[in-house]
Symmetry: C2
Subunit: 233 residues, 2 copies
DNA sequence: CGTCACTTTGAGCCCTCTCAAGGAGTGTGG
DNA sequence: CCACACTCCTTGAGAGGGCTCAAAGTGACG
């Protein structure tokens, strides 16, 4: 659970020479409830972090790509499940080894804290989405989020060709559980986005953004407007 | 945005002798978009952290009590609003001073990272709530969350007398915006909880938990069950 | 005692969910 | 190479939880 950034380099060498594990789609990397002994760095592919309730309801907490970290907890057991979405490779590192590394390198410690904070801020965005946005808006945000993620991963410019072709390696149900919707609603919302001319469905796992600005309008930028009610008296 | 813990002590002295600011209910401590120059420690009272979208929709991100920290960002401007719920007092510290403190004290740095991580984990719980739970369940979780917060703040035992009397200093709309509901739905859900005998409404800002275990059942403990679909082949 | 803000309750509607059927793509075996 | 099975996606119809609009109730304060 973490985000990729420029100063990742400080940790990346913690995974130098670390054993690489290969994962097939849907394969579980860490199971909720298992002892949290390792931390991981995604070398390639896409992983998915989720939490499942006792009645089977599942919330996908994030989709993670290259150079993201997973497996950190404050407790001694994982409280979430991590599994592969696409074929993936992850570097595995003992948690104790990683912790020691942070202790020895104050720079790394600080950079790691900063990274944790950025992830926290992403989670706040997600909370806003789940609490306030409609199905259509959530899907729009999701597409922009995938576009943004690819842009970051590739270090590409905002207007680079092909950037508006979005790959959706996960299933509709994965998307639904991420957005707090049902898979049918996700399907229908894709339909609506297409009807409105915002996207084109190339096939069920690829969409093309047809009207980026309109999609951004729909997603709605969270701005820094004043609170609705100011202090009185 | 942070949580109170035993090892807060490491930071608390960062606020020793710091100027104290008094806040009236609804008064704004930090406005979204303002330069992020200070960080705060809540000495007394309850604060509320929220984010408002361009169309006025507001998401309350958390309610914060004594010994919680607020005001941290990775950016140079606050991306959220913080305002008082009850009359409150906060200690104010320059962000640069706090950062320097962390740099000089590796122990503090580490403890702070741990704290950030715990907050992150709380946010993951919230994401599960907003994405998967019904209105009634969210309200049940909310009451248990308030009970838990008071228990932590007071260092009280789980069966201490009076612990089941929950104060609700915030408005119904604040609760609604926290839970991703409308204020009317919050009211009706309180009604349903009372009908079912789970709580008693003492007055509009106080409820008593009448059946703690049933309320916990309703809230539903997130367990570490296996994911719905395991890897095949 | 009137005003004002907040809460509660009611009625009707809409967005999303549920249940169900049909379609599309993929892999397997005949 | 085709038929079949299987999974996933789409679409439809109907139901329901939560939302919107509206009005009455409650408590605080001047």
């Amino acid at each position: 659970m973490s985000g990729p950034t420029a100063d990742n380099d400080i940790f990346l060498d913690a995974f130098d020479g670390a054993p690489i594990r290969e994962l097939a789609p849907r394969e579980v990397l860490v199971a909720a409830g298992a002892p949290a002994e390792q931390v991981f760095n995604i070398v390639d592919g896409m992983l998915m972090l989720s939490r499942t309730g006792s009645d089977g309801r599942r919330q996908v907490l994030s989709f993670l790509g290259r150079d993201n970290f997973v497996g950190f907890t404050t407790t001694d057991r994982y409280s979430f499940t991590v599994q592969a979405v696409t074929p993936a490779r992850v570097a595995c590192c003992l948690r104790t080894a990683f912790d020691q590394r942070l202790e020895r390198h104050p720079d790394a410690e600080r950079a790691f804290r900063q990274m944790t904070f950025r992830v926290l801020e992403d989670m706040l965005d997600m909370i806003y989405s789940l609490g306030q946005r409609t199905a259509l808006e959530r899907l729009a945000v999701f597409l922009l989020y995938l576009r943004h993620a690819r842009r970051l991963a590739g270090g590409i410019a905002d207007d680079a060709a092909g950037l508006d072709d979005i790959a959706l390696p996960m299933t509709r149900e994965d998307i639904a559980d991420f957005l707090g919707l049902q898979k049918e609603t996700v399907s229908r919302s894709f339909g609506q986005l297409e009807e409105r001319g915002l996207v084109r469905r190339l096939d069920s796992h690829r969409v093309q953004i047809a009207a980026l600005e309109s999609l951004r309008d729909l997603a709605g930028v969270v701005d820094f407007a004043a609170p609705r009610r100011l202090a009185r008296r």
